[in-house]
Subunit: 327 residues, 2 copies
């Protein structure tokens, strides 16, 4: 992959026009500062010992606004559970994680906490302090400890997004800031990213009125950023993308295609009907099934183990290439 080829493909011009027409990120400066601080801290820690690996985990679905003053939007089904669980296992494996997540989606260390019936979780003790109803106490205590440790030691940075416009701009910022990590960087792209969008300038300014019969909409394709990520933003990083389909007949074929077309190192393939219990790790020439062994067992534990091993190989291979190039 060479970023200096000079010839621009139609795909790339789609990327440019997407970014040019996107509404600018509101908190760009703060995000930029947070990223700089995070990467600097990692780099300093790395100098005094074994290099720390950094993974950007994306999680949850992106929205596509249908109106500029947005009342309606298209959304992608995603609880964010996989990204949250994976983040915990990456931290456990010694990775620093940049968790790029949909606002309100599942958060690391919060997976066992209730969302809807929050207040059923707590009670007021006789001495009028708040207590967590058993048997949840132990789980919550562990979660608070692990979460605090990860944040305080600089192993977890959380960046939220809502729209496809925010997501892709943040991904670009994260990727370019991770470029300096070379092969020690990893992208674990579990977010459910919209395939279609309405360009900002074509969008209705106000809420679409419902009095005028059926609504016809034309949605454009979102340019495939995976290619640009691999080619331009962070070419030395280890890249894992996800493929979700509802039709098992086309799943592996699509996973394989994604790998070749976008230069992914690994594609994790999952089916909507079984995604909680089973995924397939697809690499060139190999397919490994990873299954959950029951309700209390995260398949992400084994999945992250496999990916960490593959990342190690990638780092070794890259360092051999670097040595050869230096000779």
């Amino acid at each position: 992959m060479d970023s200096k080829s000079g010839t621009e493909t139609p795909q790339e011009s789609g990327v440019e026009s997407f970014f040019n027409s996107a509404p600018p990120l509101k908190d760009r400066d703060q995000i930029s500062q947070k990223l700089e601080d995070f990467i600097t801290k990692i780099s300093i820690s790395s100098e005094s010992g074994k290099p720390i690996r950094v993974v950007c985990v994306t999680s949850g679905g992106t929205t596509v606004p249908l109106e500029q003053r947005c009342v309606r939007y298209i959304d992608n089904f995603s609880s964010g559970n996989r990204g949250a669980a994976s983040t915990e296992y990456f931290v456990k494996a010694g990775y620093a994680v940049i968790f790029v997540h949909r606002r309100g989606s599942c958060q690391p260390y919060c997976r066992y906490l209730p969302q809807d019936s929050f207040l059923d979780f707590f009670d007021i003790a006789e001495n009028s302090t708040i207590k967590v109803c058993e048997p949840h106490g132990t789980v919550v205590k562990g979660a608070i400890r692990d979460y605090r440790k990860a944040v305080e030691e600089g192993f977890l940075l959380k960046l939220p997004f809502t729209t496809i416009f925010e997501y892709l701009q943040i991904l670009q910022m994260v990727a370019t800031s991770m470029r300096c990590l070379k092969s020690h960087g990893m992208f674990y792209l579990a977010a459910a990213v919209s395939d279609f969008y309405v360009p900002w300038e074509n969008m209705a300014k106000h809420k679409i009125q419902s009095a005028e019969g059926p609504l016809d909409m034309r949605l454009n394709q979102v340019p495939k950023m995976l290619l640009v990520l691999r080619k331009d933003w962070a070419p030395a990083a280890f890249c894992i993308s996800f493929k979700l389909e509802t039709d098992p007949d086309i799943l592996l074929q699509k996973a394989d295609m994604a790998m070749r077309k976008y230069g992914m190192h690994v594609v994790v393939a999952n089916e909507l009907a079984t995604y909680k219990r089973e995924v397939s790790v697809v690499t060139s020439g190999e397919k490994t099934r990873v299954c959950s062994h029951g309700q209390d067992h995260d398949l992400e534990e084994e999945l992250i183990d496999i990916l960490v091993a593959r990342h190690t190989e990638h780092i070794k291979k890259s360092s051999r290439i670097d040595v050869n190039e230096a000779l």
Copy 2:
């Protein structure tokens, strides 16, 4: 409003075909049982004193699936904050509330609790119990107490929905079960209901593929159920609907139209840019502005006050009509 007029309008046949084509509610029997228990408990309490009023509060946005095995859907922007806050004030005013809400949206008594940074809220005390970080402790204690009281005394029933299909089927069930309450029933329809949907039988079975250029979609209008609610489901109840617009120029005109067209008693009009700070209560011939007096003040407090007073008038008027009819 007469349900026995015999002539069916095009609007009504739209209603019928909507329900016929909707995927059936999975937990219909449980919902039905919960409603029966709730209304029975209220009726028994009412017999031994002042009749208890019941309000159905709908809250949050409905989704419109774009695929039968749904990966993508259209959603409506709504945090559910207004419905959750209003529920608290209705309970305070002595109403029993059926809170029909979008899964994962804001819940009554949970408005001051964090969603994304949940774990920042807690700490582990020296004796290794979990404590709520100050200054949140007092708020959380009050919330737990009020919530428990409302549920245990039978003043709060929560029913969740996600899709437009679930929402309208549940609303129909709630409305017909509240019919027996006559003018003591109220509908406070704050949910952001989709105006457009894809009929189940027209829907793509599998995830729509993105390889084939732009996506053209045709969405049908969701039949206006307000009319059917007023006319057939619960004709004696007091009905309040909401109108959200982004364009202030058309807002009041649309609110007025909704009132006349669907026979609403009150329409609460709000603008997207200012909906947290200001609403207008529109009745025939009158418009009252309700504003928030600052960040810590809920405009719902005054709003519910006004609506409770209007509901009292409605009950008095209805009982005069009943007496006259009996003579």
